[in-house]
Amino acid sequence: MLLEVSGLSAGYGGITVLHDLDLRVDAAETVGLFGPNGHGKTTLLKTISGLVPARGGSVRFAGTDITHAKPGRIVDLGLIHVPQGNLLFPDCTVAEALALGAWPGRARAREAANRARVEDLFPRLAERRRQKIHGLSGGERQMLAIGVALMAEPALLILDEPTLGLAPKVRGELAAAITALAAGGLAMLVVEQDLRFLGAVAPRLVLIDRGHVVLEAPSATIDEDAIMTRYFGDAA
């Protein structure tokens, strides 16, 4: 088991958002997380990656307890979280961002090779190496965000709503890229509202409602339309 979350509780100020949450991700597995807004998905990711302190329970990654570890240490261990929204660094260039992605010591030696692989995966980034990030489109920024994460040689990649605000064509490109990454053996945890997208990239889906897991099933068996309607009104 690569990532093991047990009985996790966390919150902000006086509010507890996560209640006794259990989750696991195995090596080379892609797990999809979904659920209504404000019910803890982003909080869960932030608690795992160390931005939000855990109040109870534990998080283990590759055998190491990272429940109270700092974000820098978690990145060093190979757990990379790509946050929601993809503003990145508006005034830096694409090349600079990718170079910064290779900040962890172990990733620096293979920076050139990794950059080549990222540009293979997202050819658009290769064309825009010297462009400033604020000049990129939403889809390009999202690709860059994922590319930057890949530069750190993650063992587990966490994506928070990668298709948020993106057009269907770009979503398709992203889905293809993520599937390619999964095929290459990278473990991933993907949070998404778009159940069809999620079903296409993740074999196992987990539903989070009010801060804990209420449903866990292979994506093939889930009736996407029914769930979308139940939680989000008519399927978009």
């Binding site: 931005l51 820098g72 990145l88 660094f89 508006p90 910064l100 900040w103």
Partner: protein, 291 residues
């Protein structure tokens, strides 16, 4: 105006501009990295001058060890100031105001510390080089010529560091998106301290420049800080080129004004110049300050 007078003005403008450029770049680095204005910046200059004096004249180890010690000491104090006076408040909505208060307190602390350690009597640093140089009819000391010559190199070095090194990019990144930077493993606290240390080191160099031209006193940093403030108001703080260009421009204005109107009224002229610019262009002459 005679050719000699013109040459004197230009030379004076270059010397002043060099000093102001080094000071302003330090302010700009801190502003870009942390989003605050450091009112203790003048005191980093003062501290640098005094440490250099102590090593060079007090202990008689020579000027170059003095310079090295001054830059190092100032950088360390800068990093400490960042950690104690600024970083604890970075999340607050009113961080700019709080930082003014705490860095002012820090400035008071350093100034009185210097007063306690070295006393109030004026001192002077040995010049970087001795003798005089004649340029187009204007006489300037070798020390001043060295200042004018070295400053562009220093500025170039800082520019290259910020724009072309991984650490420089990390500094800029951490300022633009704190959360994303944290999730990439960029060490925010260390980078902030680095920005402050860099600014303080630059101020120390300016202090060493100034300490041989004018008499050193614990309050010596006040006027340069004020001028540097005018420079960054003018030139903005968002880009590197803005403050640098503004620094030399202000140097020129000051040189011309001192020649034409005299020393007493020059501060008023500068201030009016600044006010006038701000009323026409609130974002400074070289604009773009989005913070």
């Amino acid at each position: 105006m005679s050719g000699d007078a013109l040459a004197t003005i230009v030379v004076s403008a270059l010397v002043l501009g060099s000093l102001y450029a080094i000071m302003a770049v330090g302010l700009a680095v801190v502003w870009q990295a942390l989003g605050i204005f450091n009112f203790a910046h003048g005191l980093f200059m003062t501290l640098g001058a005094y440490v250099a004096w102590q090593v060079a004249s007090g202990a008689s180890w020579g000027l170059w060890p003095g310079i090295a010690a001054a830059v190092a000491a100032s950088a360390v104090v800068g990093a400490i100031a960042c950690e104690l006076l600024v970083r604890p408040f970075l999340g607050r909505k009113d961080v700019v105001l709080v930082a003014v208060i705490t860095t002012l307190a820090g400035a008071t602390l350093i100034e009185n510390g210097v007063l306690l350690a070295w006393g109030g009597r004026p001192k002077q640093l040995p010049p970087l080089s001795t003798g005089t140089v004649d340029i187009f009819g204007a006489a300037l000391s070798a020390h001043e010529a060295t200042i004018v010559a070295i400053t562009p190199l220093i500025l170039l070095g800082v520019w290259l560091f910020l724009g072309r090194t991984r650490t420089g990019a990390a500094l800029r990144a951490v300022a633009q998106n704190h959360e994303a930077a944290a999730l990439m493993g960029l060490p925010a606290a260390r980078l902030y301290a680095l920005a402050f240390a860099l600014a303080a080191g630059l101020a120390a160099i300016a202090g060493i420049f100034l300490g041989a031209i004018r008499f050193m006193s614990p309050a010596m940093g006040g006027d340069p800080l004020l001028k540097a403030m005018v420079v960054v108001i003018f030139g903005g703080v968002a880009r590197f080129a803005g403050p640098v260009a503004a620094a030399y421009l202000i140097g020129l204005v000051e040189a011309v004004s001192t020649y034409a109107i005299g020393l007493y009224w020059t501060p008023s002229v500068l201030f009016l110049f600044m006010i006038g610019t701000l009323m026409l262009r609130p974002q400074g002459l070289f604009g773009g300050a989005r913070r």
